[in-house]
Symmetry: C2
Subunit: 247 residues, 2 copies
DNA sequence: CGTACCGTTGAGCAGGCTCAACCGCTGTGG
DNA sequence: CCACAGCGGTTGAGCCTGCTCAACGGTACG
């Protein structure tokens, strides 16, 4: 998909994308808010060491093992991180949405590959500059710590999803994850599924065929309806939640 | 918590347990060492806000959802974090070894339960005191950030293991993980398996029976020999590595 | 010495994978 | 303009393997 010609401005409830990187995290302690955002000052500071980039869908951002110079934050769109295994199998490690961060390296090298799923707006931060900034800004530093802890919890929840052995349950949990994420971003209504079926399969640890069959099973049981491959709607909420409950 | 009657002193190659909490992490950048330890000064600082605790095996440290006052570090022994699901199924989120940290909360509440697998020596740090300390010590703060990133990568690797569908391969990857961990701790020779078969099953997303069968299959194929349930030895290294390679 | 739990082994079942074919869409080149 | 190839998605048939249920041995502990 060709970005560039149509800037396609869009409104988000908070944190418009031209005020610098935006992030969202959940603090450790129970004081104050449950969800915290970067302050205006922090965003401006990060803006100072970052450059905004617009990319079309299906663009490789970096490959695993390559030298890691940058950390990325998502402003708009969806990114996936993944690892290709020798067998040709592909594990999608995570989907990253607005206000997420990715690209944290290990000993100077990326551990996963990253690719845009939709057209995206990202901020690219030099790793060394970010490190320097964090060392001089304890509040921001703590924010990143919380963000990383949040990411760790998400990874653990992902493990729970993959741990289920029924395909329909995994699919339901996946849809619920997308729905929840959309809610957090202030979008209601039907579930938007930005990724392809095979992305979903690689995320859920299923074959593409099984994802397809699970989707049809959800439809057959009148729990979810699909409008194309990129949109779904829950029609039987109680059944849906029952399926999506961690078993 | 039932303090242990037998303190059971023991020697470790580095970082003896009475000099305060000890941690190990992998930095983001490629400058200097691949693995970094807490400095003596940092350990003493952490010691100032922590208390050492000795616990017997199979002791619950905290339950998910309970109020989180403490963060823990492991000095000796093995801890598991887990979640119990409505079906009675149990997911082991992680095994924690020496120089690991766990108990990072979300909005003041633990997200998993934690239990000692073996007799353990832990350091218990008050969350608020740790936060305060981190805000005033950028180096230590960065260290924790790296540690958390490291934990995130481990969780992602865990997801890869669980994503395999052959039991024998998962078992091999698990044993390799234990072996690698032992190497990092400076222990060579046979693989020590501190956890029970059902712990292993809950970690690998398999039934206990399947773990048992996979172990016997490894033995039947002359790849690994077991001496009891808590010790194994690789006898066919190339076959073992072939199995344990991420498929 | 009984009890309880862990680990092992067996039999049968079920659900997801593999292989294969087919459809619809898109982009390309004759 | 159309033929064709490629790809993503769907559907079907059959196999494979891990789960479930069940029984049993060993061991730790009261």
């Amino acid at each position: 998909m060709n970005e560039g010609s149509t800037p396609q401005r869009h409104l988000r409830s908070e944190a418009s994308s031209d005020e610098g990187p935006s992030l969202r995290a959940i603090p450790f302690g129970k004081n104050g808010e449950d969800v915290v955002h970067l302050s205006r000052r922090q965003r401006l500071q990060l803006a100072g060491i970052s450059t905004q980039v617009h990319l079309p869908a299906r663009m490789i951002l970096y490959r695993e093992e390559s030298a890691a110079q940058w950390v990325f934050t998502v402003s708009r769109g969806v990114v996936k991180t993944f690892r290709d295994l020798p067998s040709g199998r592909r594990h999608v490690t995570a989907f990253l949405f607005a206000d997420d961060v990715f690209g944290l390296a290990e000993s100077g090298h990326y551990v996963n590959s990253a690719q845009s799923v939709t057209p995206v707006t990202l901020y690219r931060l030099r790793l060394d500059a970010l490190t320097e900034l964090l060392l001089h800004d304890p509040e921001l530093h703590m924010f990143f710590l919380c963000k990383l802890a949040h990411e760790l919890r998400r990874s653990q929840r992902h493990r729970i999803v993959v741990g289920r052995r029924d395909a329909i349950g995994r699919m339901a949990m996946f849809l619920r994850m997308l729905e929840q994420r959309a809610h957090e971003d202030g979008r209601r209504g039907g579930i938007e599924i930005p990724m392809t079926r095979s992305d979903t399969a690689n995320y859920l640890g299923l074959s593409a065929e099984t994802v397809s069959r699970a989707s049809r099973a959800l439809e057959r049981n009148r729990i979810v309806t699909f409008a194309g491959v990129h949109a779904a709607k829950v029609v039987d909420r109680s059944q849906f939640e029952k399926l999506a409950a961690a078993v």
